[in-house]
């Protein structure tokens, strides 16, 4: 028997400091242990709860591991074809300009098959929020090369590593989107440590608040992990992410209030 360290006497409503948000359903997430999809879902749901917009928000799920995101968010949602979420969101926002509309998309969905929809929704300046989970791999289909797979990184379709000469270069789509006049807020975040999670949540909050301003797309990349695809334990994966993903995909704001953020060298 393990020793019991419970302190039941302090478990009172006044002392409650953290509890799963009611904007998430009770369904058990189907994601692998330690997957950043779950953390990001929770942050979005917390923001929706804190803004009190549960009845005003319509989400669009992608094709990818998060294809069934609608099982977890207790909000109205639509499931898009692979890559087409920004087209759905464009229409939803235009027919319901007063609602909050967001897409949730992986790197294959957003930066490969859906590049056209993504760039044009951003370029038109649709007044929506796009949450982009970059795990540098196709998680759902079993770990194939993604547009964001790092140079030399092995995947099931580049088992000897991504040879950029043959397979092309990783696409930094977030940098590209920041250049478009239709994006208002573009930022790159991560969710694998407490400080980063808290910062990412602020960014997500800002991205939803921005919809009240009608100034264009708020775009949040989350540099995330795919433990199954990377063939690492969750703890190894976050270390690998820090050492390999973050130098290539540096965290921070790229565009705020419609202005590109100047990087001080």
């Amino acid at each position: 028997m393990t020793q019991n360290f419970d302190i039941p006497e302090i478990r009172t409503p006044e002392n409650l400091v953290y509890k799963k948000t009611s904007v998430l359903t009770d369904n058990v997430l189907h994601y692998c242990p330690g997957c950043g999809h779950g953390t990001t879902h929770r942050l979005i749901a917390e923001v929706i709860e804190e803004m009190g917009i549960q009845s005003e928000v319509i989400g669009v799920a992608p094709v990818g591991c998060s294809v069934m995101a609608y099982n977890y968010f207790d909000i109205d949602m639509q499931e898009a074809a692979h890559g087409r979420a920004p087209a759905l969101a464009t229409a939803i926002k235009r027919v319901f300009p007063e609602k909050f509309v967001f897409t949730y998309q992986g790197d294959g969905d957003l930066a490969a098959i859906g590049t056209g929809e993504t760039i044009h929704a951003c370029n038109r300046g649709e007044n929506i929020t796009i949450i982009f989970i970059n795990n540098a791999i196709y998680g759902m289909t079993g770990g194939q090369m993604a547009p964001t797979t790092l140079p030399d990184m092995p995947t099931s379709t580049c088992p000897y590593g991504r040879d950029v000469k043959i397979m092309g270069n990783p696409l930094k789509i977030t940098e590209l989107l920041a250049m478009l006049p239709g994006t208002y807020y573009v930022t790159r975040q991560a969710v694998h440590s407490p400080a980063l999670v808290r910062r990412a949540k602020k960014a997500i909050r800002m991205a939803f608040e921005n919809q009240k301003l009608d100034r264009g797309v708020s775009f949040i990349e989350i540099v995330s992990n795919c433990n199954s695809g990377w063939k690492l334990t969750p703890v190894q994966a976050i270390k690998w992410l820090e050492e390999n993903m973050l130098p290539f995909y540096p965290l921070g704001d790229l565009k705020v209030n419609g202005e590109l953020v100047k990087k001080s060298e």
């Binding site: 549960q54 009845s55 005003e56 928000v57 319509i58 669009v60 799920a61 294809v67 069934m68 609608y70 968010f73 207790d74 909000i75 109205d76 949602m77 639509q78 499931e79 898009a80 074809a81 087409r84 087209a87 759905l88 969101a89 464009t90 229409a91 939803i92 235009r94 027919v95 319901f96 609602k99 056209g116 929809e117 760039i119 044009h120």
Partner: protein, 360 residues
């Protein structure tokens, strides 16, 4: 007072969309239907009724925008021509799978591939037998006049919402481009968001406190539930087949020979029939108005009366398969068609009837 106007088919379609109280049009230019969006943009329907018009980055974008708006319970439509409709097939399959109502116009041009910008009816199979992946059906309406390009818009929306099913208008470059007098119906109001909430309990309009959330999806991984979903779709299609068949017959009462044609071909056949009758040949014409559901039973009935059927299409022989099914091979059924943008004259059709059916 009747409101009459001389209009192109494509323009009549666009005006009809505004007057039917449509909420949103999404499209991408392609000949021979570009007048639809040009007319809409010039008319500023966002000022007339609040209707949204948006030129998308591609037909893929357009059809997925239709998906998004339709899933919100809005009256959404798009139009294109054959190559663009091919690009839309992914979205159409998702719309059918998610059971969303919408209107899709195909002003058909000749194919395959980039083909030609000239009129054709070669997308009959694509429209009526599938197009995209999976077991699904579109309700397919075939206008044969500019008036029907107008009238079928509100009929299309009515059927789409009645069955939560995509409706396609299968027109062609002849009907889209020609000008005729049209009687315009009165402006219908767009539904308010509150009306949408009351009428369409499936629409994603934002989760109401204390109510179940609404999810629009075509995904169901559990085989048992996916089969059930498919069976439900099939049940809907059977209902459509028994209740929504529409067709027109001309001079069929005493006909010894039958022409079967839809859309622009039916107009040519009508002239051919008149020509034949003036020569004493008793020709009748059956024009399917719904291509799906196909009017099999009238074909069956007429196949017991006439000596032979000539199916006239601007393609290499597509609808003829349905006519043969309806006739149960009781009598001779032959096809006459021109394609690649070539249009037969009534004389050509009558000659084919005499040679392939009467003489043969």
């Amino acid at each position: 007072m009747k409101e009459l106007r001389l209009m192109k088919g494509n323009e009549a379609f666009a005006e009809a969309a505004i007057r039917a109280g449509a909420d949103a049009y999404f499209g991408y230019p392609i000949t021979p239907q570009s007048e639809v969006m040009e007319y809409l943009m010039a008319e500023k329907p966002y000022e007339r009724t609040g209707m949204i018009v948006l030129q998308s980055e591609s037909e893929l974008g357009a059809i997925n925008m239709v998906y998004g708006a339709a899933a919100c319970g809005k009256r959404a439509l798009t139009s294109s021509s054959s190559p663009g409709i091919s690009l839309m097939q992914e979205g159409i399959s998702y719309i059918a799978g998610s059971e969303l109502p919408c209107l899709i116009m195909n002003v058909v041009r000749g194919g395959p591939g980039l083909g030609t910008i000239q009129p054709s009816q070669s997308d009959y199979f694509q429209a009526t037998k599938g197009g995209g992946h999976g077991d699904y059906r579109l309700i397919v309406l075939a206008p044969s006049s500019v008036q029907e390009m107008f009238d079928f818009v509100s009929l299309g929306f009515e059927l789409a919402f009645k069955y939560r099913n995509p409706v396609m208008m299968l027109s062609d470059g002849v009907i889209g481009q020609m000008m005729e007098k049209v009687e315009l119906s009165e402006q219908q109001g767009r539904l308010t968001n509150q009306q949408i909430d009351e009428l369409y309990p499936w629409a994603t309009t934002g989760k109401k406190p204390g109510k179940e959330r609404r999810i629009i999806t075509s995904l169901e991984l559990d085989p048992g539930r996916q089969e059930k979903h498919n069976l439900k779709l099939q049940e809907k299609y059977r209902k459509i087949e028994t209740t929504e068949v529409r067709y027109e017959t001309l001079h069929c009462d005493d006909a010894e020979y039958l022409l079967v044609a839809f859309g622009s071909s039916a107009r040519i056949c009508q002239k051919a029939m008149d020509l034949g009758r003036s020569k004493g040949i008793k020709i009748g014409l059956m024009r399917p108005i719904t291509l799906y559901p196909f009017p099999y039973s009238i074909i069956e009935q007429l196949s017991k009366q006439v000596k032979g059927i000539l199916v006239v299409e601007l393609n290499a022989g597509q609808m003829i398969e349905d006519v043969r099914l309806g006739s149960h091979d009781r009598i001779k059924v032959e096809h006459y068609g021109r394609f690649g943008g070539m249009i037969p004259s009534p004389v050509d059709v009558l000659y084919a009837m005499e040679k392939q059916i009467i003489g043969g």
